[in-house]
């Protein structure tokens, strides 16, 4: 695990000053019920922003708007300077391209169970990014080795531990060369040991300069890796700031209550 994960650092250093993701006035309702009530958030390139908050606060919905798995009702989102949606309309011309630039890792891994680990990493390379078979397999093997799973490359997901599956899922997202990675509670379905494995991989990604948006309840980890922490409740940003400020010296009562609860349980 001493090697770097991909050439993320080199790719992202060129755009380091620019924000990777800009969200302005983002609103989203489901069946007339507002879930996001005007979110403003900048995610600078090569930075890690953690989103924390109670269940149902809209964290997942916010993430899913960034790769347009969910279409916002209002607001503007820019990814690497391109406006992908504005005022309820999708302006992104190539959704497949967007999703290659914005990778996503799910809470429940969502690996393809009928394919082995390496094939999971190959599939979208060949069928979404148009990469040739040989190159795709080579890259998949390399990425699996770098998340410490070279020896499991030809195993099926059902034969793997949760931690291994999540690392395959990370390799699968990395294979498309994303500039931003979204993690939605990547460790909350895992036991402590598996959590450790996954966090180690994410720590390396952070070191390599990958831009990441992370929803998590792992407050110690959030404090360790994030540059910025955002506390969301009821679809609004209640408080945001440097990780140590928000987590150690929260200003808002709601943030304090949340932090106290998870510090006690974790």
């Amino acid at each position: 695990m001493t090697q770097h994960i991909g050439n993320v650092a080199r790719e992202t250093s060129a755009i380091v000053a620019k924000p990777a993701v800009t969200i302005h006035g983002l609103k989203k309702s489901f069946d007339g019920r507002q879930v996001l009530g005007g979110i403003d958030l900048d995610v600078p390139a090569a930075r890690i922003v953690s989103i924390i908050g109670q269940s149902g606060g809209g964290k997942t919905t916010l993430m899913r708007c960034v790769n347009l798995l969910e279409q916002p009702d209002d607001g503007v989102i820019e990814v690497n300077g391109e406006t992908i949606c504005a005022r309820g309309a999708v302006t992104c011309k190539d959704l497949a391209k967007l999703r290659q630039r914005v990778g996503m890792v799910f809470q429940r891994f969502n690996l393809f169970p009928h394919l082995t680990a390496v094939e999971n990493v190959v599939l979208a390379q060949m069928h979404a990014a148009g990469i040739g078979e040989r190159e795709a397999v080579e890259r998949a093997v390399r990425l699996l080795q770098r998340v410490g799973l070279g020896h499991r490359a030809t195993a099926y997901p059902e034969r793997m531990s949760g931690g291994e599956q999540q690392r395959v899922a990370i390799a699968r997202a990395l294979a498309l060369g994303p500039t931003v990675l979204l993690f939605d509670e990547p460790t909350s379905a895992l036991d402590p040991e598996s959590t450790g494995e996954v966090l180690r991989v994410m720590r390396e990604l952070a070191r390599d300069g990958m831009t990441m948006i992370l929803v998590t309840h792992e407050l110690p980890f959030a404090r360790e890796v994030s540059d910025w922490v955002v506390f969301i409740d009821g679809g609004k940003i209640i408080e945001q700031g440097a990780a140590t400020d928000v987590l150690d010296r929260p200003r808002e009562a709601r943030t304090r209550a949340y932090v106290a609860k998870y510090a006690a349980s974790g």
Binding site: N67, L69, L95, A96, K97, L98, R99, Q100, G103, M104, F106, R108, N110, L111, F112, P113, H114, T116, V118, E119, V122, L123, A124, H127, A128, A129, E133, R134, V137, E138, A140, V141, R142, G150, H151, A153, T154, Y156, R172, A173, L176
Partner: protein, 246 residues
């Protein structure tokens, strides 16, 4: 005594004279089976997809179709198609009428199996595929369908063997398949018991290995053995790369 009688009866049927009849009959049975199964699987898949559509207008006709054809005897469908349709100007050959009847009937059952299989795929699979930038068609072809086929395999295999046996109903429209040949031979030799026993044994000799093969296929796929050449090639490449310390 009567057993002995049956045995000597077998010898009194001039089998060698009828070998080619039986051979051709068997071939026709297989032709009916394969043509009908391919058609029924295709129509069944279309019906299943229609029933999983968001629009009621698309779902409704498919549901109606399935309910009708599941609740009507196959023989009635055969008679309507072959004897009934000519009176409204649709005159079909025996083969076409037979195949169409079997397709109409079995598509209804297969659509139920396929619908349950496709509906049984976790929504997270679609999400993951979408998040990787895979298009709708690719997602269906490479993510949903392969998993659905695995789920549908046991039920589909049962239907395949059932369809093979049901081709014998086509004797009623003289389809020249195995059962029609049997009827012919029995009426010429007056040895109904022996002839039909032999024909039943032939059906068994075909159906049993087929269902065993399909079971083997199920087990092989379940064990994770890749069947497609592309998958084998990619896995082999991955293993070479891993072994070479690349």
């Amino acid at each position: 005594m009567s057993l002995l009688h049956t045995f000597t009866g077998f010898l009194q049927v001039p089998w060698s004279d009828y070998a080619s009849n039986i051979g051709w009959g068997l071939l026709r049975t297989l032709a009916y089976t394969i043509a009908s199964f391919v058609g029924a699987a295709a129509l069944g898949l279309v019906l299943a997809l229609m029933r999983l559509n968001r629009l009621r207008l698309v779902r409704l006709p498919a549901a109606l179709y399935t309910e009708i054809f599941k609740n009507v005897p196959l023989l009635a469908i055969i008679f309507v198609t072959y004897f009934g349709l000519p009176s409204v100007g649709v005159k079909l050959s025996v083969f076409v009428a037979g195949v169409l009847s079997l397709i109409f009937f079995y598509a209804a059952y297969l659509s139920e199996i396929f619908r349950a299989a496709i509906g049984g795929i976790h929504s997270g699979q679609n999400e993951a595929a979408q998040a990787l930038g895979l298009g709708r068609g690719t997602t269906f072809g490479h993510v949903v369908l392969p998993q659905a086929l695995r789920l549908a395999l046991p039920g589909t295999n049962t239907m395949f063997v059932d369809l093979l046996k049901s081709t014998s109903l086509l004797v009623t429209i003289s389809a020249a398949e195995l059962m029609t040949q049997a009827q012919l031979i029995a009426s010429e030799t007056f040895r109904a018991l022996e002839v039909y026993l032999v024909i039943a044994a032939i059906y068994f000799a075909v159906c049993y290995p087929v269902s065993q093969c399909l079971l083997w296929l199920e087990r092989t796929i379940h064990a994770g053995v890749p069947l497609s050449i592309g998958r084998r090639r990619r896995l082999k490449l991955a293993k070479t790369l891993l072994a070479g310390g690349a």
